[in-house]
Structure formats: C-alpha cells, structure tokens
C-alpha cells in the first residue's frame, strides 16, 4: 500500500469528480435511438392540431366546427365550450395568474389557442384545423408596454378586470400585473443627490425566444379502466407539472405519471404548462384514447415561453474616481397577455436584485413594473435564472457608461468597484450573501492572457487612422451569477419549496441506481451525477445508472432550470451518498472487528489506520450489506434518499473579453476573439463544463447580435419561423477560448456552484460592450441589441462614418 501509482490507478478507474468522462447518454443519440416525445406512438393514438387566432386582440363571435367535423379523418373538435363542463377552459399559471386553455370569448394575442382538432393522423388534424371557421370582431391591440397603463388603454384581461391583485400585490390599472421594489430608495436618492458623477441610460432587453431545436409537445394517455393518466411530455420540471395537473384535473397525484423522456433542448422554454398539453390531456380523458400534440416551429416561437422584454433604465452615482455610491435600476416588464412564466411566490421579478453584480455598492434601489400586452405570455426563460440576464446586462453596461463618463479604462472601473476577495461572504445592499469569489484575480488572468494593454494600443492606433475601414471594439464583462434556486424560505412555486432530491440504491455487486428530481435536456446529468457518486462511494461511474424525469420512479424535485441541478440536486446526491457511506463504515468496522474510529477512507475502501493490509473495499461492503454478517440490529441494504434544502443560492462568476472589428461602411461586426474565464467552484466534468460554456456563449452571441421577435402595431408577428428568427450556424459562430479559476462554494457539499447559464448571462453584455466600445471615442454610450449589420450601420451612418 501507499504506492502512488496504484492509488492513482484505483482513483482513475472510478472516473469520478474532475474526470472528463465521455457521456453515458451519447450511446443512444449517436445511433438515432433517443426517445423524444414525437417518437412515441401508442395504439389508437389521435393527433391534435391547434386552431390559432390570426388577431392579437379580438372577440370571438362564433365558432363553426361543421366543415371540420365532416373532413375525412377528423374525430372531434374541442373549443372552450367543450372544456367548460369539466372546468378546464382556464388554468392556473406558475406565475400566480390564470390563463385561457382555449380562448374563452376573446383572444388576447396572435396565435392564441382557440380550438383543437383531433384527427387520425397529423395530416387529417391539420386539414380539419384549416376548416374550423371562427368569426372574430377585432379589437385595438396594445403592443408597446409603455402604452399598457394609459388611462384610455383597452382592457386586455376582462376576466380579471375587477381583481385588486393577481398574486403579487396591489394593481393600479386593469393592465397592471405588479410593482415590485427592493433596496432602500431614500438612501439611494441621498447618494445621487450628493454624488459628483451620475450617469443614466435607457437600455432594452428585447423580446427573444429560447427556440430549442425540439418544439414542445406531449402524448397524453388516460386509462378509463384504472383512472390513471400518463403524460409523456417536453418538460424541464416533471414533478411540478404533475402537481399542477393534479390540481387542475382533480385526478389523484398518485394516479398521474409524467414522463420527461429525452428532451431536445429546453433553455427555459419547457418549464411552463402550456394550453396544448392541457387540451391533449382533456381530449384523452374525453375520448379514452391517447392524444399526441406537437407544436410546429411557428407555434413554438409565437406562443410558448419567450424571454426578456425588459425596458430598463439604469442609473449610477459615483465619486470623481468612479467609485460607485448609489444605484437605481428600474424596468418596465412586458409579460404578454397572461402572467404565465415560472415565478417564485415572493420573487415576482425573479432574482433581478442581483443587479449590483460583482461590485460593492452601498446604496441601491430597484423597481420593476409588470404589465399585460397583446403578445404571447412568458418572460422568464433562455438560460437566464429568473431575470438575472436582464440584471447583469444592465450593471455590466452601466459600468462601461460610468467608465466613459469618469474617463477611466473599462477594466480599471471594475477593479475600483469589485467586492474584494477577503470580503466574502459578502452581503449586497439588496441582501444577497455572495458565497465566495475572487474577482480581481479572474479579471487580471484574462487581461494577461489576451495582452489587454496591447489590444488597447492597437485600438488607439486604429482610432487615430482616418483611413481605417474598420472600428475596433473591446468588450469586458465581469459578471456574478445567482443560481441554484433555492432555499425554501425564500423560493417556492405554488407554495412548493425549491428543494431537490436524490435517491440512491446500491446493489450487492456494487451496481448503483440513482434517481433525481431534476430533468436533463442535454446537460449530461447521467454522467455528472454518476461521477459525484463514484467519488463519494468509491464505486466506478460506469456501473452507476442515473434516472430522471419519470415521476413514478424519481423522488420529488423542482426540475432543471436556473442552473439549479448541480447546486441543489448535486448536493442531494452527495448527501445521500454520504448517508450510505456512513452505514458502509459501520459494516466495515463490524467485518474488520475494529471500532469505526479506527477506520479511514481511501478512494474505494475503508482501511484500518496504521494497518494498511486490513481493509474492506466498497464492493465487499456492498455484498456484506445484503447478508446476515452485519452489525446486530442493523437492517440490510445500502439505500438512501436525501431532500436537500440549500442554505443559500450559489454565485458563480467570470471574466469575459471580446474583440470585434466593425465595418464602418456596412455595419457588419466580426468577432475576432472571445476569451471566457469561468469560476463555477468545484469542477465535476471539465469536458461537460466546456461544452455548456460553448453553448451558452453561442446563445449569448445569438441574442446580442441578431435575435428579436418583432411585431407590427396591430400585434402581428413579423418573424416567427427560422427563415426570419436568427439562430447562428457554424459559419457565424465565433471560436471560443475558455479558461477557469476554482473558488469552491463554501456551503455546497462538494463545493460546486453550477455553470450552464453563466456564459449566457455574462456573454450578452460582453458582446454589446465590445460593439459599443468601437464607437465610444465618438461619444456613443449605448446602442440597443441586437447588433445586426443594419442596426450597427445606422449608428455608423448617423456619425457619418460610412462616407468615403
């Protein structure tokens, strides 16, 4: 014993935490054997096609089903009137509001669900949908949220017109949803009144869509004989959905089975409960046969879970050196026609109050006013942890605005305001306790890696050259994320705390099955959770099977969104494994006839301290646990379950740098370099982490450089297919350079923080800051996203830069 190479060999064999273990889930995907919802085919299954509103705001005068019902292959047509007898024409949302399942007397956004046609196959169903005749009386639509609360604004939601509140405090107008405030307004105002430097900027986070490659859909199957309902669906939160379905349908939760299966990307789009799912379920209950409903791409972009639409104003007050003394951030939030996105009861604006970012800001105030418009519902989605993207975009943009006003370098303004490493845990003026960080070190590492001074010299030379056809911009983003919702004392949905769970069963030969309340959508959970268990229990990851998503099998949990899987379920996994290890230790002591205190753990076994020849491997203990040779009074088996309620959220951070070259004649922006340093605490699988960062940066690139869902003044969509909506291809996508530091989370059992959303949250402002920096020497302090060639050219043109 003690042979280092032998120890290393044993450790490597486990492929535990820190190993870039290739993914277990790949085997089926590379063979085309994934099981996505549209792959499911049940006997007698009908297909449901949704009839959607062509108007953004209209009264439904009549619906004529007769032609549709006469079409070949059409079995039934369901409208709100058909759902009324079972009281399912409206449903509660995850945001405290109600939403029409099928439009009841009026439609409030274009493409809203009006009817569902059931056909023997999808062709028959869509033929039928085209034959449903709906007579509408068009009403004036509100598209601009700034018009929502006008005195003469049309009332969008007549169903709640008289309601004084819709779950989040008093309303002041029929189109008002809530007003949320945080921080100390009076203290912030005092700081502004006395500050030598103040800056203010209006900054838009436009409406975008996460657009996972697989659209949303389900197969609902109600068994009339047993009263059991099974729903295969695209969901990131199967257990929460089952609870909602039980509340909605009156079916006992134990008789409802929700199965996530393989999910073709989620990005927050697959958290809410959509009308299509509910109609399919009702249709199956009514007809007694399985019903499949699958969105088209146009349905997906037009109606399900968009992101952002935050119209912000940022203000900072600072001393003459740029040290921030006060912050005032406000946002007008366009939630569309229903307040339907996932929302913690006490946090209607999500985690927006993380908007002090990585900086020590003594006085801060934030306010969000949410309103209804005649647009599709949503807002919280897209790799963003509940409004964190909006918050961090605002502070990271405002840091640049302040640097320009004070006249200091954009790296230096950050250095002057960072929370120092020795200040952690650091409580912000909004009350969040940042767990750990080393912001200065991360920034300096990046600046050194890219030769920041050299880049600024090159930029100065470019600016001095009147003949240069391009403008050079350097963007920085030194963000702090807030993920891992969350402590049940502050975070709940419909009253259910956002804990999460893991159940581990260890079998006699050392094979392990672990089941969790989360739901992978490509993040590699089957691999990374197995690695946590491998290290904790000394059993090889190859023999550890991870199962999620089937509510009949997995313990209760809130699902995968907001980068919560590793911070919450990863912790539950370690905790459950430690319970098992504790029992294993008792068995080892019994087998070795020593006291537990005489044992020490070494990779995959307990050995007797000072007598290394005496040891019991975990595999030996697994077998022993299933025999009579265990301590007196102990039960057989090696199983445990843990429900983990995190004591705090986790705060991953990073320092990103982007260099762009802007063509002054065309407005085209070329990303020359993007360097991303992330610190997510303990790194479980570096390969998977890098993959998550590549993907998050690419989605950040998409948002910053090209995505926006535009509408005309009547609320008509002006771009809801992939013909118009920008998804980057391999050609436009920049090459990503990644780096890391490791600052473990002090309160997480293995020190991990979560990572997948960091590159999206940190990436978007980095791109914007780079583009705007290209124009900074000309007095430009802000340009709204997306920085498409057309929009950037307009800036060039306004400044006369495109004249030869």
């Amino acid at each position: 014993m003690g042979d280092m190479s032998e120890l290393k060999e044993r450790e490597d064999k486990l492929q535990g935490v820190g190993s870039s273990l290739p993914r277990k889930e790949d085997a089926r995907f590379i063979r085309g054997q994934g099981s996505y919802v549209d792959d499911i085919k049940l006997p007698g299954m009908l297909f449901g096609a949704v009839v959607r509103s062509p108007y953004a705001h209209a009264r439904i005068k009549s619906i004529d089903k007769s032609k549709a019902l006469a079409a070949p292959g059409v079995v039934a047509v369901l409208t709100a009137d058909d759902l009324k007898p079972v009281n399912l024409h409206w449903m509660p949302t995850l945001g405290g509001d109600v939403q029409a399942v099928l439009a009841d007397k009026k439609v409030c956004f274009q493409y809203q669900e009006v009817a569902m046609v059931l056909g023997t196959d999808r062709y028959a169903a869509y033929d039928g949908a085209a034959l449903v005749e709906v007579d509408y009386e068009e009403l004036p639509a509100i598209v601009d949220p700034k018009q929502s609360m006008a005195a003469d604004a049309p009332v969008i939601r007549e169903d709640i017109q008289e309601k004084k509140e819709v779950g989040h405090g008093p309303r002041t107008h029929p189109n008002h949803i809530f007003t949320w405030e945080a921080g100390d307004k009076a203290a912030a105002d005092v700081a502004f009144a006395s500050a030598p430097v103040t800056v203010r900027e209006e900054i838009l986070n436009p409406r975008v869509h996460p657009c996972p490659l697989e659209t949303c859909g389900c197969v609902a199957s109600f068994n009339k004989a047993t009263g059991h309902l099974t729903v295969y669906m695209t969901t990131q939160a199967p257990h929460l959905v089952r609870t909602v379905l039980a509340m909605l349908s009156g079916i006992a939760e134990s008789k409802i089975r929700v199965v996530g299966g393989d999910i073709g990307g989620g990005f927050g789009n697959k958290v809410p409960v959509y009308p299509g799912y509910v109609v399919a379920i009702v249709a199956s209950i009514v007809t007694g046969v399985p019903i499949k409903w699958i969105e088209s791409r146009i349905d997906n972009i037009s109606t399900t879970g968009f992101a952002r639409d935050y119209h912000c104003v940022g203000e900072l007050a600072a001393d003459a050196d740029g040290r921030i003394k006060g912050l005032r951030f406000t946002a007008l939030a366009d939630h569309g026609a229903f307040n339907s996105h996932v929302s913690a009861t006490k946090l209607p604006a999500g985690l927006f109050s993380i908007c002090t970012g990585s900086y020590a800001i003594p006085n801060a105030y934030a306010r969000v006013d949410a309103v209804y418009t005649n647009k599709a519902p949503g807002g919280v989605a897209y790799r963003c942890s509940l409004r964190v993207t909006e918050a961090i975009y605002l502070i990271e943009r405002m840091m640049d605005v302040l640097a320009q006003k004070v006249g200091v370098d954009k790296a230096e303004i950050r250095r002057r305001n960072f929370v120092n490493a020795e200040q952690f845990p650091y409580t912000t003026s909004f009350g969040w306790t940042l767990d750990s960080g080393a912001y200065h070190g991360a920034l300096e590492k990046v600046l050194k890696a890219v030769d920041y001074e050299g880049l600024r010299r090159e930029q100065a030379a470019r600016r001095a050259d009147p003949n240069s056809p391009t403008l050079m911009g350097i963007g920085l983003s030194t963000f702090t994320e807030i993920v891992g919702a969350g402590p049940t004392k502050v975070c709940d949905i419909l009253g259910i705390g956002l804990f999460d769970s893991c159940e581990i069963r260890v079998h006699p030969t050392g094979g392990v099955i672990a089941r969790l309340g989360t739901m992978t959508q490509g993040q590699g959970h089957a691999t990374t959770y197995a690695q946590i268990i491998a290290t904790e229990l000394g059993l090889p990851a190859s023999d550890i099977v991870v199962e999620e998503g089937d509510t009949d099998k997995a313990p209760y949990g809130a699902g995968t969104w907001g980068s919560r899987s590793t911070p919450v379920s990863g912790a539950a996994t370690a905790q459950a494994a430690r319970k098992i290890k504790e029992k294993a230790k008792q068995i080892a002591a019994h087998l070795l006839e020593v006291g537990e205190g005489d044992l020490e753990w070494e990779i995959d076994r307990f050995k007797v301290r000072g007598n290394p020849g005496q040891a019991k491997t975990m595999k030996e203990i697994c077998m022993a646990a299933h025999t009579s040779n265990i301590p007196a009074g102990m039960e057989q088996g090696l199983n445990a379950v843990s429900y983990y309620d995190p004591p705090n959220l986790t705060f991953p951070f990073g320092a990103y740098l982007c260099v762009v070259d802007v063509d002054r004649y065309t407005g085209e922006v070329k990303v020359r370099r993007f360097y991303a340093l992330d610190d997510c605490g303990t790194r479980i699988n570096p390969m998977v982490i890098e993959g998550q960062i590549h993907g998050g940066l690419t989605e950040a690139f998409a948002v910053a450089m090209g995505q926006q869902i535009p509408f005309d003044e009547n609320g008509n969509h002006l771009g809801n297919s992939l013909m118009d909506y920008f998804l980057p291809t391999a050609v436009e996508t920049p090459v990503w350079e990644t780096d890391h530091t490791v600052t473990p989370c002090p309160h997480h059992p293995i020190g991990a923080k979560g990572v997948a959303e960091s590159p999206h949250v940190g990436g978007i402002p980095c791109f914007s800051n780079a583009v705007i920096d290209a124009f900074a020497h000309l007095g430009v302090t802000h340009m709204d996203m997306p920085h498409s060639a057309w929009r950037v050219w307009q800036q060039c043109h306004a400044l006369g830069l495109d004249r030869r």
Partner: protein, 162 residues
C-alpha cells in the same frame, strides 16, 4: 385517405415499399411508417437540418422532400451509419469530442457530416463550418462538432478503404 402511391426505395441497404398519399413528406414516412425515428423534425422549413438524410449521394432535408420523389432511390439515415456492430468514425468522434448535448440535431448532423467527408475528405475547419451550415445546433456552439468531424476525417484517412 385519397389516392395512394406505391413507392420503393433502398433504406440503409434494405429494399422497402410503402403506400403513401402524394402529399406525404419523407420525414413522416420514415418516422411514422418505417419506424426510423432518428431523423427529427425541427422547423418544417428546411432551415434546421434535424431531418437530414442522404438520398442518392446528396444530403437532403426530408421535411421538404415528398416520399413519391424517392422512387428507386438509395437512402441512408443515421440508423445506417453503424456497420456490423461497429460505429462509424463520425459517431465515435462525436462521442469522444463531446460533439452533442441534447442529441436532437445529432442524427442530421452525423448524416450531413458523412456526406461532407465523402465530398471533401480533407476539409479544413472553414470548409467543415460551411459544409455544416445547413444544420443548426442550439447546445454545443459547434466547436466540438467541428473537432469531431476533423477527428473522424483523420481516422477515415488513416484507415484502409472499406
């Protein structure tokens, strides 16, 4: 249904015959009638490439090909890449280089990369990126997909011709 047409083609080396309405799209025939659910539906407008299959030596988007156009054709889908229990070099490389996450684009991406390397076995990075531009991925940012295609290209070049 109204009039159907009998269509025969070769699918992953085996002859198949289907009776389909004239308007039926190839992706639906493959998925619904022939139980080949590897190719996926992502956009219905030929933009995303999740439905890519290989038809007569060309990559096609099966969401915008009519099945009746395939009479006598020779078709390869992701299900046909593995031969005799041995993964194709591209499948192996996607696994080793972490070239996939949710897996939804993967069948189309693999099938497209297969044709790309047939057309240009020595494709450089830019040629690979251009060659895959008809296949969208929302998860990976393409970097590891490109690495996987490069890695497979090297292995295929080194291997004796099958």
């Amino acid at each position: 249904m109204a009039n159907t047409h009998t269509v025969s083609f070769t699918l992953n080396g085996k002859g198949v015959t289907v009776d389909v309405p004239a308007r039926e799209l190839l992706i639906h025939t493959l998925r619904e009638r022939l139980a080949h659910t590897g190719p996926h539906i992502g956009c219905e407008t030929s933009h995303c490439g999740a439905c890519t299959v290989d038809l007569d030596g060309t990559s096609v988007k099966s969401c915008t090909v009519l099945t009746v156009q395939c009479e006598g054709g020779d078709m390869l889908t992701v299900e046909g890449l593995e031969q005799g229990g041995v993964l194709h070099a591209l499948q192996q490389a996607f696994h080793e280089e972490h070239g996939l996450q949710c897996g939804y684009c993967t069948p189309g991406m693999l099938t497209r990369a297969y044709r790309l390397l047939k057309e240009n076995p020595n494709a450089d990075e830019q040629e690979i990126r251009r060659g895959l531009a008809g296949n969208l991925c929302r998860c990976t940012g393409y970097q590891n997909i490109v690495k996987a295609v490069q890695s497979a290209a090297r292995k295929l070049a080194a291997a004796p011709a099958a």
